[in-house]
């Protein structure tokens, strides 16, 4: 088997490592992500229960699921997944992020397998997952199609992958870069590179090319009146999707 291409972009990793310690400061640089968390957790909980036929009323509906949080950062998603019962592997190319995440999880008394590794390296192991969270990561990787391919390989047959990213639209440039980074100061300048944003069409093509079916696409918009993020039909800026790997033929 050919050695997988390394899809990590070293400049992006260095940028996020510098911010590592601030992951868990709800008033710090990652405040937007903290505010964004409930809407995507609600989506993940609902859809995993739906696709995996799990008991939605359970305290730990994800018990027994092997879940990979790729590009886990400080563990903002890994920790909730662990509390919902999943066997969580949190992978991030930045050792600083992994260190922050591991220290925080230990403080929370949560057992999460954090690894400073990449999708390419995980493909080489025999670890395969029921659910992969690929949230706000793809716009930061060097080779998105290869990265999606590696993630597809990491899914068990019948497994599902959550994808969240930013659309390459003028509106996204206005809101996510000019608005969030320069006007509102929600995100550090340079967090996002508009050229790396991905349209839903491109995402669908990539997942199909990797043998996955895109089964859901949903927009996420900020409601300034309620001061919270909500799901919406508008895929123009932030959006999430679910790609499923067919059961083994």
């Amino acid at each position: 088997m050919q050695k997988p291409v390394e899809t990590v972009d070293p400049d992006e990793i260095a940028k996020f490592s510098a911010m590592a310690a601030e992951w868990w400061d709800p008033r710090g640089k990652f405040r937007p992500l903290h505010k964004f968390n409930p809407v995507r957790l609600d989506y993940i909980r609902r859809e995993v229960c739906h696709f995996k036929g799990l008991e939605a009323q359970s305290a730990t509906p994800f018990a027994g699921l092997d879940l990979l949080d790729i590009g886990c950062g400080g563990g903002l998603l890994s920790e909730p997944m662990c509390r919902l019962g999943a066997n969580v592997t949190g992978a991030d190319a930045s050792p600083e992020n992994i260190k922050t995440a591991a220290i925080h999880a230990a403080e929370q008394n949560l057992d999460i397998d954090y690894q400073a590794t990449t999708a390419a390296a995980l493909v080489e192991t025999d670890r395969r997952f029921d659910v992969i969270l690929n949230m706000e990561v793809i716009e930061h990787v060097a080779d998105p199609p290869a990265f999606i391919d590696q993630c597809s390989t990491l899914l068990k047959p019948g497994g599902i992958m959550f994808l969240a990213t930013l659309n390459r639209t003028l509106k996204a440039y206005a809101l996510a870069i000019v608005g969030a980074e320069y006007v509102l100061g929600w995100l550090p300048k340079g967090t996002h590179d508009w050229e790396k944003f991905i349209t839903p069409r491109e995402l669908e093509d990539m997942t199909r090319a990797s043998g996955l079916d895109m089964v859901r696409l949903s927009g996420v918009s900020f409601n300034p009146l309620l001061n919270k993020w909500q799901r919406s039909g508008d895929l123009g800026v932030n959006y999430m999707g679910i790609a499923r790997k067919p059961e083994a033929a």
Binding site: R45, C82, A105, A106, D111
Partner: protein, 479 residues
């Protein structure tokens, strides 16, 4: 200030014992962790994580020894959170001895609980333990100092055939406090948490470590401060309060009426301040709540009963008509009237509940209703956090709680505050206000939706209905 001084006094005598106590407790921690293990134990070594001593853990610690703290602890424990409550597990000081003649003072201080608050207390199992009964209020008559000012009535005058809607329930504070105590003792869900025989001393919001005077430590996800208006924890968290001193006192006592009250609560706005007569379970008994300038309150609380009765009948002359005569029927008490609201209802790993967050004018008896709405919103917030896999201390979820509650508390505070202020203002103001009230009364009489909106706000407050107020059994909630 007083608390800080006390701590300094205790320190020298505690130090030696603390060392010993620290060791004995550490030996017992193994058995204490039982209650905390909702999360999986960290038996797997995590790269980069420092080795740390295992200390007892729980989801929420509730500080305070009053009714707010007790109700918060009950509600959280019944929703499946592991709770350490200061008033259950802490260094409990013996409660103040009830006065020897408890029967006489039972109706000295009363609360007006909204129907939603009643449902919340039923859900918590407190309402069923009330022993002294309760008086439903079917109508409220509000007016100014002159005969023509009465009445704005709240019940729907246009449809007298409709079954009577209960606007609120008058209960005895002493009785409610006892019922809450009984419920707390019967709550097995609160029995499993760590017993710590020292006072809570310090909290580190970064790590969630609650340290006790004997150096014992408890790891908590969220600290709920329900320790009342003078909260030290709120001050330490750097949260300031807006204060308002009404420069008056509320005189309260049970009074006898010459005729049945007919389940109507009556309020008159006088120049000195508002006077309210609230129905009690006995048809010819009522609870008097009378705001007065401090000196006058003190004088009236101590004067002869005949003098008091005369003053009362003069002050309440617009109310006296239907009753012929009001007469004192129990001991009198008075307390200063103050209002305050915390500038923030949450901090890092901190949520304020009850009077730690807001103290309002007791005119409308809304304090306990606001507190129960705090508790309902807090339980909903934490249940939603748990459903999403978030920690109880998640800042975004706590922000939601703060946003929900601060608007409601402000509305509660300034609604009653405004009424009281206008009617104790200069005469032209009062005339305008009385006319305004009559206008509102007229509109409300002819537009029942408006009255229902008022009533809904008084019952459930602003914002969405919490599960506690909807009366949802906690077992149905997603764990």
């Amino acid at each position: 200030m007083q608390g800080r001084r006390k701590r300094h006094e205790q320190t020298p005598s505690c130090d030696a014992a603390a060392h010993v106590a620290g060791w004995t407790l550490r030996a017992e921690w193994g058995s204490l962790t039982r209650m905390t293990t909702k999360a999986k134990p960290t038996d797997q070594a995590i790269a980069g994580a420092p080795a740390r001593a295992e200390s007892a853990r729980c989801d929420v610690a509730v500080l305070g020894r009053g009714n707010s703290a007790a109700l918060t602890a009950l509600a959280l424990a019944q929703s499946g959170f592991s709770v350490w409550a200061e008033l259950v597990h802490g260094d409990v000081q013996p409660a103040a001895q009830p006065p020897s003649d408890a029967r006489d003072t039972r109706w000295q201080r009363v609360l007006a609980l909204s129907p939603g608050a009643r449902r919340a207390l039923e859900t918590l199992g407190v309402w069923q333990r009330l022993k002294a009964g309760h008086a439903p209020v079917a109508d409220i008559a509000v007016g100014g100092p002159n005969h023509g000012d009465l009445p704005l009535r709240f019940a729907d005058a246009k449809t007298p055939d409709r079954p009577v809607d209960v606007l609120s329930h008058i209960v005895s504070l002493a009785d409610l406090t006892e019922a809450i105590g009984d419920t707390l003792r019967a709550c097995t869900a609160l029995g499993g948490a760590a017993q710590i025989s020292a006072a809570a001393h310090d909290f580190n919001p970064q790590t969630g470590t609650l340290t006790f005077a004997d150096t014992t430590q408890l790891r908590v996800n969220l600290l709920v401060d329900a320790s009342g208006a003078q909260s030290q924890w709120r001050t330490r968290a750097g949260i300031a309060c807006l204060h308002y001193d009404y420069r008056s006192h509320a005189l309260s006592a049970e009074v006898a009426l010459g005729a049945p009250h007919g389940q109507v609560a009556r309020q008159v706005f006088l120049a000195d301040g508002p006077l309210a007569i609230l129905p009690l379970p006995a048809p010819t008994r009522a609870a008097l709540v009378w705001s007065l300038p401090a000196r006058k309150a003190a004088a009236l609380a101590q004067c002869d009963e005949d003098v008091f009765n005369h003053e009362l009948n003069v002050a309440a002359r617009t109310l006296v008509g239907p009753f012929e005569h009001l007469a004192l029927a129990g001991p009198r008490a008075y307390q200063p009237l103050k209002a305050q609201i915390a500038e923030a209802f949450t901090g890092t790993r901190l949520a304020l509940v009850g009077e730690a967050a807001h103290v309002i004018h007791p005119l409308a008896g809304q304090g306990m209703n606001l507190t129960l709405r705090d508790i309902g919103a807090l339980v909903d917030t934490l249940c939603e956090a748990r459903r999403l896999g978030l920690a109880c201390s998640d800042a975004t979820m706590l922000e939601n709680y703060a946003r929900l509650r601060r608007a409601d508390a402000l509305a509660g505070a300034f609604g009653t505050h405004g009424l009281a202020e206008i009617f104790s203002g200069p005469r032209p103001m009062r005339a305008v206000a009385a006319t305004g009230l009559r206008g509102v009364g007229f509109i409300a009489d002819n537009w029942p939706e408006l009255k229902n909106a008022f009533r809904r706000q008084a019952d459930q407050g602003l914002g969405p209905l919490s599960d506690l107020f909807a009366g949802a059994p906690s077992s149905e909630k997603t764990r």
